[in-house]
Symmetry: C2
């Protein structure tokens, strides 16, 4: 009764590097690229398969959530294919290890993507919309930072992802009032006055009440 279909998993992994937001891609045929993919393995969860699409992240925990399932009959050039797409975030200081299948992987700034196969450009753009949206009303931004970070780094992360300048005083007040980060007691020196280092409090309530359409 239930029947069998062609199906794979795609994972869109993002990170911040310098002043840009990057996505990890895998070389495809010719000059085109694609989202990292994996097969569904018998007895493994979807999340586990989504991780196996990526080079080994080693110790670095990465944030992972399901994005969408694509299945239009004409979305793949090789016949009908269901793709369950995951969305992932990597800390800025994390390094990836061995890639699966010894394939070639590379990071691309999201404003400068190479040609992508099939509907992968649409998928990246949807993943990006989801990232921006989630960043606005949850605390997911910390997943893009090292374990310890300064308030300026955090603000820069938000500005890069949202593509928008934020007010320093308001930003600091809001995030400190929200109680989702705490000072570590350590400082970081660089050029200029040293900055306090903070860490994310994973026990904190990350969601913000939405402004409702109706009272």
């Amino acid at each position: 009764m239930t029947h069998f279909v062609r199906c794979n998993i795609l994972t869109a992994l993002f990170r911040i590097q310098g002043r840009s937001l990057q996505v990890l891609l895998r070389a495809a045929v010719g000059r085109s690229w694609q989202l990292p993919f994996a097969n569904l393995e018998e007895g493994r969860s979807l999340e586990a398969c989504a991780l196996s699409a990526l080079p080994d992240p080693g110790e670095c925990a990465l944030y992972l959530e399901q994005l969408y399932t694509y299945g239009d009959p004409d979305r793949s050039s090789q016949g009908q294919l269901i793709s369950i797409v995951y969305f992932a975030l990597l800390a800025a200081d994390a390094l990836l290890g061995e890639p699966p299948d010894r394939a070639r992987f590379a990071w691309f700034a999201i404003e400068d993507l190479p040609p992508l196969i099939d509907d992968h450009a649409d998928i990246v753009s949807y993943a990006l919309r989801r990232l921006r949206y989630k960043l606005e009303y949850t605390a997911v931004g910390f997943e893009l930072l090292p374990e310890m970070f300064t308030l300026s780094e955090l603000q820069r992360t938000y500005e890069i992802v949202l593509g928008e300048q934020l007010d320093k005083r308001n930003f600091r007040r809001r995030i400190l009032e929200a109680g989702i980060i705490e000072p570590t007691g350590q400082m970081r020196s660089g050029t200029g006055r040293p900055a306090r280092l903070y860490r994310y409090r994973p026990d904190a309530i990350a969601e913000v009440k939405t402004r409702r359409l109706f009272p």
Copy 2:
């Protein structure tokens, strides 16, 4: 390289009836019930398959969106199965026609569900969370009403879904200011003073800006 997996589509359809929110279920073996399901048919979109899980809705357009894809190895009693789940809303005055496979379908109030197979109870409860959440910040509530409706009916719909009393004056002010409905000019008489009938303006911007975590 890409391989084949067992996969189906489930559709969780909701409607308002009287003072309760109902979900449509399909009889399963024994005394248990399940979400309406369909196979993925070659050459059809996921949405089309999701609709084919339901009795024929005839003229009534129904709201449909993808909910989530479930695929844990132990979620089905009959071996690993991917289920792409859709979430649907039906207008209160709509009638459903012939069910697929001549199967038995019935509406159940969401606070009084029968035993469900596998993880279908979890899926219903997630769909319900999504419905409440969406109702708060988008105009999806109109999908549960006939084409023309009074402001009191609209408010009652919101109250039933959200499980919460709303203030009449604030509700009316907000929804009229939002400009997402318009008076039809017609009135409905019943017991008490006749009420203006409104219709949804599909061109209206349905989303509300969320209250952001950061400024």
